[in-house]
């Protein structure tokens, strides 16, 4: 090894900086006046990837996306000339990237089981070939967003190769139909100044810049999730935003997985942000095997995974949600409905806090930087239903998990997130303890989309949809009050109509709201949920009439036909006869109770 000496730094000419300070993922470099703010740089001999986050005179502060162990003072920093960007194009679907868009399968091949710092690989393969169908012709006028060619990326997804948003021109050459590799050019344009613009199959986009669209639309179509508590009580619209806050073990990740599996979207992007490695492996092993309930194809054919697990470098965790939403916007621009699961946005906020702490910024609440709310707003506002540049409708729905410390919903991340989302699915510790999944509280949760999407449900599922939802929510709200009384005096002393409310709520909770995440009940179409509720509410109305006639509730509820209500979810959605049979047996039971009682009363 070379002897270490006190060599004075040699100031380099041109665009090369020198490291002068290292503290974990934050470093400082001097001689940085020729670099751009937010430019991506290569740090040290291993060329670690970093991003300039502030400029101060001759010096720049850089956050490094990889482990900085071993970095030396006076090692060099070189520029790449562009802000943090990712590649978009065929090959995204079914892939698994880290927070800064490196494909984990290629890393596994080249680096082995561990991810070592300083590895750079192309995000998308240039060698893989695709069957390309040109859509435009020579002489066509092309503007940003125009589809140039298509590739059937998976049986579930037609990938449209578009002209980048900011260009315009006349097509002078277009690719031939047939097999082409990813590195190819699909068309050449001539712009107004006569310059030639090549349009490559694989394009780049800076992740912190939202992709443009023509116009925003109001969301009025539901994002059907197959989860009864969500579709039935707290629906989310396509293009909507929702958050799932909950302490550890309340089932945030399981719920997110369920939505990623069964949600009604053409592209699903799952961002594992600062979470467990095994959870990503779980998705990776399950999704190629599980079938999309609508098409019967493997779920992986519409899914993209992004993982920056909790033990991967913290700065890349900060970048991961931007990487995810940029890919989402790219597919939205093709006119698709995209769903993004961000698990967990708290880890992203904590990454901000950790970096802010290393920068010695003045903290606002609980150590979080003062710009936390504006960053959250920027992220959630990238969701929405829009008319794309090409004139089609596309949407991005964002569902963010929030992990409040100690399960306390008043902490800054939950509180600020609530300002920017319109659908709140609060997870309840007590429900989770009783293994009532999904543990979405029917008291704390809300959805601002319920009214807007009601029309769709009434037209496509059942005209009485909204009416039923109101009735059920009323029973649950009444039950909440009744339960408080029960806690004080016990159930036996309550009047029978209140006991009936409590019992009906019991049926709703255990027969409708509770849903297994595995097995046949994992995906429950809205029609099945409605059928269950209809049976329960029918039972309630008929029993209420009996209770009002003075028939004791114990006679009403103690029967095998009533026990069967909480097992209705075991039936297949298309098993109409099964549901009809339960309905008939309940009616028979109630009729019998009524007539027996009448006879008794008559006899007295």
């Amino acid at each position: 090894m070379e002897a270490k000496t006190n060599a004075a730094p040699i100031k380099k000419e041109g665009k090369e900086g020198l490291i002068i300070f290292v503290n974990g993922p934050v470093i400082k470099a001097s001689n940085m006046r020729n670099f751009a703010m937010r430019e991506v740089v290569n740090v040290g001999p291993k060329k670690l990837m970093g991003e300039i986050i502030s400029m101060d005179g001759d010096d720049a502060t850089i956050q490094v996306y990889e482990d900085t162990q071993g970095l030396n003072i006076y090692e060099s920093v070189t520029g790449t000339g562009e802000p943090l960007s990712i590649e978009v194009g065929p090959g995204l679907i079914g892939s698994f990237f880290d927070g800064i868009g490196r494909p984990l399968d290629s890393l596994l091949e080249t680096e082995g089981m561990y991810i070592s710092p300083g590895t750079s690989v192309n995000m998308l393969s240039r060698k893989k070939t695709w069957e390309v169908t040109p859509i435009t012709n020579v002489g066509d006028l092309v503007t940003g967003g125009t589809v140039i060619a298509t590739v059937q990326e998976t049986p579930l997804l037609l990938h449209k190769i578009m002209a980048p948003p900011d260009i315009e021109g006349e097509v002078t050459w277009v690719i031939s139909k047939g097999l082409h590799d990813g590195g190819t050019i699909v068309a050449k344009l001539k712009d107004a100044f006569g310059r030639e613009i090549p349009i490559p199959m694989i394009q780049r986009w800076p992740v912190r810049t939202p992709r443009p669209y023509r116009e925003r639309l109001l969301p009025n179509e539901p994002f059907v999730t197959g989860q009864r508590v969500i579709d039935g009580l707290f629906p989310i619209a396509k293009g909507g935003t929702a958050c799932i806050p909950g302490g550890f073990g309340t089932g945030k990740t399981v719920t997110q997985h369920q939505l990623a599996k069964w949600g009604d979207a053409q592209v699903v992007i799952y961002i594992g942000c600062g979470e467990r490695g095994n959870e990503m492996t779980d998705v990776l092993e399950q999704f190629p095997v599980l079938e999309d309930p609508r098409s019967g194809r493997p779920l992986m054919e519409r899914t993209i995974l992004i993982a920056n697990t909790s033990n991967m470098p913290v700065a890349a965790r900060e970048a991961s949600i931007y990487t995810g939403i940029t890919i989402g916007e790219y597919f939205r621009d093709m006119g698709y409905d995209v769903a993004i699961m961000a698990d967990s946005t708290s880890r992203w906020a904590e990454a901000l806090r950790e970096l802010s702490g290393r920068l010695e910024e003045i903290p606002a609440e609980e150590g979080f930087p003062a710009y936390l709310p504006s960053r959250l707003a920027e992220f959630y506002e990238r969701a929405g239903r829009v008319v794309t540049l090409a004139g089609e409708n596309g949407s991005i729905s964002v569902i963010g998990a929030v992990s409040p410390p100690g399960g306390d919903f008043t902490e800054p991340v939950t509180r600020h997130t609530k300002r920017f989302i319109r659908c709140f699915w609060g997870l309840d510790k007590n429900l989770a303890n009783a293994r009532h999944y999904p543990a979405i509280s029917w008291i704390d949760s809300y959805s601002e989309y319920a009214e807007e999407v009601n029309g769709w449900f009434c037209t496509n599922v059942e005209p009485r949809w909204g009416e039923m939802r109101d009735q059920v929510r009323q029973i649950l709200a009444e039950d909440d009050k009744v339960q408080q009384v029960i806690k004080l005096v016990g159930e036996d002393v309550l009047p029978d109509d209140q006991r009936l409310v409590a019992f009906t709520a019991f049926l709703i909770k255990n027969g409708y709201l509770q849903q297994n995440s595995f097995g046949s009940d994992s995906y429950s179409p809205p029609s099945k949920g409605f059928e269950i509720l209809d049976i329960i509410m029918d039972f309630y109305q008929k029993s209420l009439a009996l209770v009002r006639k003075g028939i004791p509730i114990s006679l009403i509820k103690e029967d095998e036909s009533v026990d069967a209500i909480t097992h209705l979810r075991e039936l297949a959605p298309e098993d109409k006869e099964g549901f009809a049979l339960v309905r008939k047996r309940i009616d028979t039971h109630l009729d019998r109770v009524a007539t027996e009682r009448m006879r008794k009363l008559g006899g007295e």
């Binding site: 002068i20 003072i73 984990l104 082995g112 600062g274 490695g277 990776l284 697990t309 293994r435």
Partner: protein
């Protein structure tokens, strides 16, 4: 090696020394420090700037004289030498032999910080470990490759439970099994208990022990779990063993992190712990798992004592967000003499959903466990009601629920410290207890299962 030696340091504060005019030093590099009497100790570069280098000294800065202290930067991170000979040995928190049997030779040297495992290299853990403890096997199933901590409190029998799991886990006793035990800031007696019990009840030659006792230097506690996990990874992925890592007490580790963070003048976060506590804990806990194509596995059972039994304290809170579940011990059950005093409602095993049921344990396992949780959760509600209105005033169903609760705690939960139960036995016992409840309460079990199992019992 021709590494230059620097004489004299500028500042000494807590566990840190500040050195000026040093160049060519890497972030995180290992430093050899010699005091005026020529004794050596080690340190690590904590931060670097043009003017000064901050070095964190393991074993503390006592006796260091600013003018005569000599530093040699070794050009490499903190490493541990790993070999097969480590089995059966005891080391201190820095990986030096503590049992007087001399250095271990051969093998390979690795950076104790490890590298993040590519999530694609992982294999999803599914192999059930029969621990012989009913509450764990049935309700918070331990899976090979899982990280499942025990959340305990001072004075609760977490050590006994950890030993029982380690000795009864079915893979114990076979040749391809090893235990790595890391004691961080623990009492002499606790350390002795672990080593004696594990040796007496298992095979003393498949245990590797790292001990940083309560009176050992605080700063070494940062290295201790990393030494243990590097060893575990070596045993698992290089030698193909199934390794169970027991780390106790994670609370001491976090306290050490806070102490060092404050001494370094970092901006503190919740309760004074550093903002990177989550990332730091994750860099330890995530070193559990199974790697595709390799035969070994690393299963972690970290033990932490919750300060004031508060589960929302940052240490258990952040741990729970990283680990795949938790086993929570209850002071209330312990005071009623129920061993193991596992509070099943707040306990959880996240990996259990894919490791139980048909083909793994028994087909009825998922629904039985779900029902036990639901019913026992109702027991708690009824108990608080009984506390208000009195047991006599309860409804018939509520009284049945209370009776179920007693049966569950006294028969199912409670078992001997050396009693081993097969999973089938535990499940049958669960059915027997569940059959005392009214049928309408069994909402988690399918009608078909109720028919089959309850009929058999009645």
């Amino acid at each position: 090696m021709a590494n230059a030696e620097y004489i004299g340091v500028k500042d000494i504060e807590g566990p840190f020394v500040l050195v000026e005019n040093v160049s060519g030093v890497g972030y995180g590099e290992l430093v050899e420090i010699r005091d005026s009497k020529g004794r050596t100790r080690h340190g690590q570069v904590k931060s670097l700037s043009e003017k000064a280098t901050l070095v964190q000294v393991f074993t503390g800065t006592e006796d260091l004289v600013p003018n005569t202290t000599k530093l040699r930067f070794l050009g490499k991170p903190l490493e541990i030498r790993l070999s097969k000979n480590m089995l059966g040995r005891t080391f201190n928190g820095l990986g030096e032999p503590r049992d007087g049997s001399g250095e271990t030779y051969g093998g390979k040297k690795v950076n104790i910080n490890g590298l993040p495992l590519n999530p694609m290299a992982r294999q999803y853990p599914k192999d059930f470990i029969n621990t012989g403890v009913s509450a764990i096997d049935t309700l918070t199933t331990l899976i090979r490759g899982q990280k499942l901590p025990i959340f305990s409190g001072n004075g609760l029998p977490h050590n006994q439970l950890a030993v029982q799991i380690a000795t009864q886990a079915k893979i114990m006793g076979s040749d391809d099994f090893a235990v790595v035990f890391a004691g961080i800031g623990i009492k002499h007696d606790d350390a002795a208990y672990f080593t004696q019990e594990l040796s007496a009840r298992g095979h003393s030659n498949n245990i590797v022990t790292f001990l940083n006792l309560a009176d050992d230097p605080v700063i070494e506690r940062i290295a201790t779990p990393r030494m243990a996990l590097s060893t575990a990874e070596y045993l698992a992925y290089d030698l193909g063993l199934h390794v169970l890592v027991i780390i106790t007490d994670m609370t001491s580790y976090c306290e050490a992190l806070r102490e060092i963070g404050v001494a370094a003048g970092e901006v503190p976060s919740r309760k004074g712990y550093p903002a990177y506590l989550y990332s730091d804990l994750a860099s330890l806990y995530e070193r559990a798992g199974v790697v595709r194509g390799l035969s070994g596995s690393v299963t972690q059972i970290p033990i932490l004592t919750m300060p004031n039994d508060d589960i929302t304290h940052p240490i258990p809170d952040l741990t729970g967000f990283i680990t795949e579940g938790q086993i929570v011990l209850s002071r209330e059950l312990d005071s009623r003499n129920i061993y193991p005093p596992i509070d099943i409602l707040t306990s959880l095993s996240r990996l259990m959903k894919d490791g139980i049921g048909k083909g793994f344990t028994r087909e009825d396992h998922p629904s039985v466990s779900s029902q036990l949780f639901a019913s026992y959760s109702r027991v708690q509600e009824v108990r608080s009601l009984a506390g208000v209105v009195g047991e006599d005033e309860l409804s018939k169903n509520d009284k049945m629920s209370l009776a179920f609760g007693r049966l569950f705690e006294e028969n199912f939960l409670k078992q001997g410290k050396e009693e081993e139960r097969e999973i089938g036995y535990s499940l049958d016992m669960a059915w027997e207890i569940l059959s005392t409840l009214p049928r309408g309460e069994l909402t988690r079990i399918s009608l078909a299962d109720i028919q089959e199992h309850i009929k058999k019992i009645q």
